[in-house]
């Protein structure tokens, strides 16, 4: 068996990621070639082409415990044994789908008909169901110092009175906890009365705004006709700026849905100049491929623009470019590298039982309750998929289903235990969901793109490190802050 490693090069160096030790080692070119030959069973070349010193240096790495061939024996999630405790005591948040109705018909929406999982309907949640959901959450989050309630739709603001009822009930039931309230909205229905209430109750809004009028109105249109909503969103934001300036700067974040068929630069320019959101956090997400009937097409130009903007962010973090020239929409990219870098913590060897990265603790991480009181791991999964329905407000969590989703690596175990990218994998059960069961074939069809992303990520990390980026935690500088 070969060493459990992944080798890669950057323009500035040769590296290997040692899966057992969970660290990246910098190699000399000779070391890299020797390992490359050995991993390809071409040991003749090793002995003939290289100096004994180079070969000895590889042996030295083995003596230090690197280059082990050990593979894990099974996919077994580390939280599998304590899953009940997490579900009983540590549910992180609850999101209520208070209505399936929306006043918009966004062309890329998961309710638009282009997806297998959802369509718009007149269904809405009963207040009693919402209250039971809140009680269930309080009961199952005893270990948390905070209480996190989110509203989701359809468009939740179609049900403002319902939201008020829920917030007041939650504030009473969550007494003693730090309360966080969140609402995802298209912002077309915001009124002074609503914002005033939200300000008093410290509700945080995530507003969907895709860019300029031209970009936004291309997809985000009203239900009755094809009229875009950009102008109404701007009008409402203007009202908030005038009457509730603190709310605008403290409680509003924007999410731009990027359409990869378009250019990125025009969206980027809009947000760079967007006065109303100067202090707000802005994030971007691409039109989701999950459960989509067709695939989302991506233009070459879009990819190259995104990559170039990422490159500029790296330059800025390294001190070669002023931050003002970088894309605020992509600012999380660098932090993601830092987060991933922190996962590289050296260990003795890979445990026999391990699970690849990706799955959350279904139900405990982002509990989503639909209008009928059914539970799902989060708002992204298919409500039409029986295996994703992990419980109900009346009978509680379905622990057997949750264990299957948590240990989704089991269905592709033979591949996963030999995969060098398993620690950095981001595939959860959604990647395997065929609506009528979890499919190994569907899941592994995503492996090559996942490995490609992880390989790029490791290359980014090493390149940044070559240029002196401090990706670890800066405890020293924190201590020195006055």
């Amino acid at each position: 068996m070969n060493s459990f490693i992944h080798m890669f090069k950057t323009p500035g160096g040769h590296y290997l990621y040692d899966v057992n030790k969970n660290v990246i080692l910098r190699l000399s070119e000779d070391q890299y070639k020797i390992l490359d030959y050995k991993n390809n069973d071409d040991t003749c070349k090793c002995t003939s082409e290289f100096s004994s010193q180079a070969i000895e240096s590889i042996e030295h790495l083995r003596d230090l415990g690197f280059l082990s061939e050990k593979r894990p024996k099974e996919m077994y999630h580390p939280l599998n044994d304590t899953i009940l405790s997490h579900l009983n005591n540590k549910v992180n948040m609850i999101t209520l789908q208070i209505t399936k109705q929306c006043n918009l018909r966004c062309k890329y929406c998961v309710y638009s008909g282009d997806y297998e999982n959802r369509v718009h309907s007149n269904e809405k949640m009963a207040l009693d169901t919402a209250r039971k959901g809140i009680d269930f959450y309080i009961e199952h989050s005893k270990d948390n110092e905070y209480g996190f309630l989110a509203f989701y739709g359809g468009e939740p603001l179609l049900e403002f009175e319902f939201i008020k009822n829920c917030i007041e009930y939650f504030e009473e039931r969550a007494e003693g906890k730090n309360i966080h309230l969140n609402l995802t909205t298209n912002a077309t229905l915001l009124t002074e009365e609503i914002v005033d209430y939200f300000q008093k109750h410290d509700v945080h809004l995530l507003i969907s705004l895709d860019g300029s009028s031209e970009v936004h109105n291309r997809n985000r249109v009203y239900r009755d006709g094809n009229k875009g909503t950009f102008e109404k969103v701007m009008e409402n934001l203007g009202m908030i700026k005038t009457k509730f300036p603190d709310f605008l700067s403290n409680n509003i974040a924007f999410n731009a849905v990027l359409d990869p068929q378009n250019e990125f630069s025009c969206v980027n320019t809009f947000f760079a100049d967007f006065e109303l959101a100067k202090e707000a956090s802005i994030m971007a997400s691409e039109i989701t491929d999950l459960y989509r009937k067709d695939t989302v097409k991506t233009s070459e130009k879009y990819i190259s623009e995104i990559e170039y903007e990422n490159f500029k962010i790296f330059l800025s973090k390294l001190g070669y470019l002023n931050e003002k020239y970088t894309a605020k929409l992509l600012s999380m990219q660098y932090n993601e590298r830092k987060t991933r870098y922190r996962l590289l913590q050296m260990r003795q060897e890979i445990p026999d039982k391990i699970h690849h990265g990706g799955p959350c603790v279904p139900g405990a991480q982002k509990l989503f309750m639909d209008v009928d009181g059914n539970f799902y791991p989060c708002e992204r999964v298919s409500e039409a998929s029986p295996q994703m329905k992990i419980g109900n407000i009346d009978y509680g969590f379905d622990i057997d289903k949750i264990r299957i989703l948590l240990n989704v690596g089991k269905i592709s175990e033979n591949k996963c235990i030999n995969c060098w990218a398993l620690t950095f994998c981001n595939l959860c059960a959604v990647a395997a969901d065929e609506n009528d069961g979890l499919s190994m074939e569907k899941k592994v069809s995503k492996c090559s793109s996942t490995k490609y992303s992880v390989d790029s990520l490791l290359k980014d990390i090493c390149t940044l490190r070559e240029f002196g980026a401090e990706l670890g935690e800066e405890i020293y500088s924190f201590d020195m802050t006055e």
Binding site: S85, R173, G176
Partner: protein, 375 residues
């Protein structure tokens, strides 16, 4: 016979559950009601929910005002979760005092609050007892020139935690209850500030703060124990060490286990109980901990206890916060089965037969010492 004072405990949480489990130890008090804020999820449930242990037979209420009718004294305690004093507690204290209830407080307060509560209590003719760990065994200003250690002749049982939140107080109270029942006289120093209510000494305040050098802390703790030995003439001394004995990692350092180190230099224990958070340890993993304690603190472990708490590494890594997941105590019973062949017993203190076993075996070991008389 003097009637016991009826206590209302607020905000009830797992910090106080060991006292409830061993409430017969309370000296002059009885528990009349437990009140916790709604959001903690205990309302209407048996008090055992707080530490996920067996049922206790007292239920938790949420209505503080209504519960005041049932008590003489309100005891404000520390909580396992952050809990805003001004927002939730101070008004309740004012209300209680107005209704002529005494106030006991083991929560750390600032000077202003202490002054204000004292003055309110004075006006209403009720008492305010504030536990700040002040001890009266030794004078506060003791100067020790002699750097040598007094020998403690009474057997010492020491309870340490590998880290925080390891059910140490439950161990200390379970042992006390059992040892007293067996007819032995026990002197005890516990890890809570209100131990005097249960008839023993709180961890002395001179061990905290920077006013005294570490060397003097060791010497003072040694003299503190010696004085207790002389004045109380116990058969057994039980000491609980606050905090953990070692850092979890670079970020969560448990004060580097300094208390444990200082106490290990001040007294030589005869029985050592080491309690740890739950992880899926390999049986041989306990050998590592045995050696670690042996070479770090200088003593052999007699019993390991696995607490029904797990450190939340995910939150620690992502949010840099110290957070725990509580586990049902029966889960520990299942998991400890795989250590049944270990040389050193691995126990679950919330299991009655384990706590009995721990006390019986500790006594057996100490009685065995008495068979050998060294002159």
């Amino acid at each position: 016979m003097r009637k016991n004072e009826r206590l209302l405990i607020y905000p009830y949480n797992m910090e106080f559950t060991p006292v409830l489990r061993h409430r017969s130890l309370l000296m002059g008090y009885e528990i009349s009601c437990l009140v916790a804020p709604n959001g903690w999820g205990f309302t209407g449930k048996d008090a055992g929910i707080a530490d996920r242990g067996p049922d206790i037979g007292i239920s938790v209420a949420a209505d503080f005002e209504k519960s005041l009718d049932l008590c003489d004294t309100v005891m404000i305690i520390k909580s396992h979760l952050p809990f805003d004093f001004d927002k939730y507690i101070f008004n309740k204290i004012k209300l209680a005092v107005k209704l002529k209830k005494n106030i006991i407080c083991s929560l750390k307060l600032d000077r202003e609050a202490i002054k204000e509560i004292s003055s309110m209590c004075n006006c209403e003719g009720v008492y305010f007892k504030y536990f700040d760990g002040t001890q009266n065994v030794l004078p506060e200003e003791i100067v020790i020139d002699n750097e040598s250690i007094e020998e403690i002749d009474t057997p010492v049982i020491l309870t340490v935690g590998i880290s925080e939140k390891t059910n140490k107080f439950e161990i200390q109270l379970a042992l006390r209850e059992k040892i007293q029942k067996l007819g032995y006289k026990i002197s005890q120093i516990g890890t809570r500030s209100y131990c005097e209510m249960i008839g023993f000494h709180s961890f002395p305040s001179f061990m905290y703060g920077n006013a005294i050098s570490d060397v003097n802390k060791v010497l003072m703790f040694n003299r503190f124990i010696k004085k207790i030995e002389k004045t109380e003439e116990p058969d057994i001394i039980s000491i609980g060490v606050p905090g953990g004995i070692m850092p979890l990692n670079r970020k969560f350092t448990n004060n580097f286990g300094l208390f444990a180190f200082e106490i290990s230099q001040a007294v030589v224990p005869d029985v050592v109980i080491a309690s740890m958070l739950y992880e899926d340890y390999k049986p041989e993993g306990f050998d590592t901990y045995t050696n670690l304690i042996k070479y770090r603190l200088g003593f052999e472990v007699d019993f390991f206890n696995i607490a029904n708490m797990q450190f939340d590494w995910k939150r620690a890594n992502q949010e840099h916060v110290r957070s725990y997941t509580s586990l049902d105590y029966r889960f520990i019973d299942e998991k400890k089965m795989k250590y049944s062949s270990n040389n050193i017993p691995v126990l679950n203190i919330l299991n009655k037969s384990d706590s009995n076993f721990m006390a019986d075996q500790a006594i057996k070991k100490l009685v065995g010492y008495a068979d050998v008389q060294i002159v």
